[in-house]
Amino acid sequence: MVADLERNRGSEAMPSVDDGIRLTPEQLRRRRARSIAIGLALGALVILFWAVTIVKLGGNVANRSL
């Protein structure tokens, strides 16, 4: 892996590691905060669907024929 990168550094056709977008620490911090917020929102959605499912099933789980 490191060897590949080393090899690419000299060639024009292949971009080297230095050519990519480098985020500032502030941008990294904000991106992390956005990721956490999305994660929390998805988690809340899972819990919401679970809770409503349980409520809608109610006691009917016990009533199914075995």
Partner: protein, 308 residues
């Protein structure tokens, strides 16, 4: 090559979660949640608390989605108005396409969840509300007619109807009355604001009534809608789904509202401070809050087995 990269680094997103929350117009959302809660509690039959919570959440997120889509579409005029220049898009923290994607995603999720978790009638009404606010109001009426907020106000009046339908699966006279209260309240509320913010709207080229028809006509229309609003505020008591105590309080509040509207009507054109308009604007918020709070408290007391 390196120039392009520097550009891209500069424009990489600095938006935090707070900027996306700002896109949801949290203050509008809080009013939506409140009126929806009242609609839900007023509806006959009751709803399981968990399902009710899910319904309120969907309605709130749907309102937020409308806000984000509105800010996406209105970014050009938001840049021109002092009141809106600090919103996330004009401030450059969120791009227009990010706001569009965010709004569309939330709109789809809120309508989908309300349909699946609660019922399709409520889901359909929420979809119509978002469509009405974004397409009918933001895209069409707002920049086209000085009556923009009269018809656009319907979007803000839908939440209690959606919440009512979450419980009953239908639309009924009572929920239409809740709709009418907010619908008639919107024009005097916003025109009072537009009176003392008319310079802002003029700069953005939005045909608000004071800009297009003049201050005198705006004051006259505020009075007309206040005359219509005051009796509608009492309707819940007349139709029998609120108590006489509510009716008396609503009549008193309506009289004060009307009195303040008359003072705005008598305001001189030369009045730069526009204190009566500012007072009416502040009182209009209190008026709507009080009507719905009284309905809520009264119904909760009744459900708890108390009687006046």
């Amino acid at each position: 090559m390196s120039d392009v990269q520097i550009d891209r680094i500069d424009t990489a997103s600095l938006a935090g979660p707070a900027d996306y929350i700002a896109l949801l117009k949290p203050r509008v959302m809080s009013l939506v949640v409140f009126t929806a809660l009242v609609g839900m509690v007023m509806a006959p039959g009751g709803i399981h608390p968990v399902v009710g919570f899910a319904a309120l959440l969907c309605i709130a997120v749907g309102a937020g989605a409308s806000g984000a889509l509105n800010m996406w579409y209105d970014a050009d005029i938001d840049r021109l108005m002092l009141r809106t220049q600090k919103r996330p898009i004009p401030a450059g923290r969120v791009t227009e396409s990010e706001a569009l994607a965010f709004g569309l995603t939330l709109a789809a999720f809120s309508v989908g969840c309300l349909t699946v978790l609660v019922n399709p009638v409520a889901g359909g009404l929420l979809a119509f509300t978002i469509f009405f606010y974004v397409v009918i109001y933001s895209m069409w009426l707002k920049r086209w007619t000085p009556q923009n907020i009269v018809i656009g106000g319907a979007a803000g009046a839908f939440p209690p109807v959606v919440a009512w339908a979450s419980v009953t699966g239908s639309v009924s006279v009572e929920s239409v009355v809740l709709f009418l209260i907010i619908f008639m309240w919107t024009p005097p509320h916003f025109w009072a604001l537009a009176l003392f913010k008319s310079d802002d709207y003029k700069r953005a080229g939005i045909p608000m009534l004071p800009v297009v028809a003049g201050l005198a006509e705006t004051r006259r229309q505020i009075l007309i809608y206040s005359v219509l609003l005051a009796p509608i505020g009492v309707l819940p008591a007349i139709l029998g789904f609120a108590s006489l105590a509510y009716g008396c309080a609503a009549a008193a509040l309506g009289a004060v509202f009307l009195g303040m509207a008359v003072r705005v009507y008598r305001m001189a054109d030369s009045d730069a401070a526009m204190l009566p308009a500012k007072r009416l604007f502040a009182f209009s918020i209190f008026y709507l809050f009080m009507l719905f709070a009284m309905l809520l408290v009264e119904r909760l007391a009744m459900l708890a087995g108390l009687s006046w």
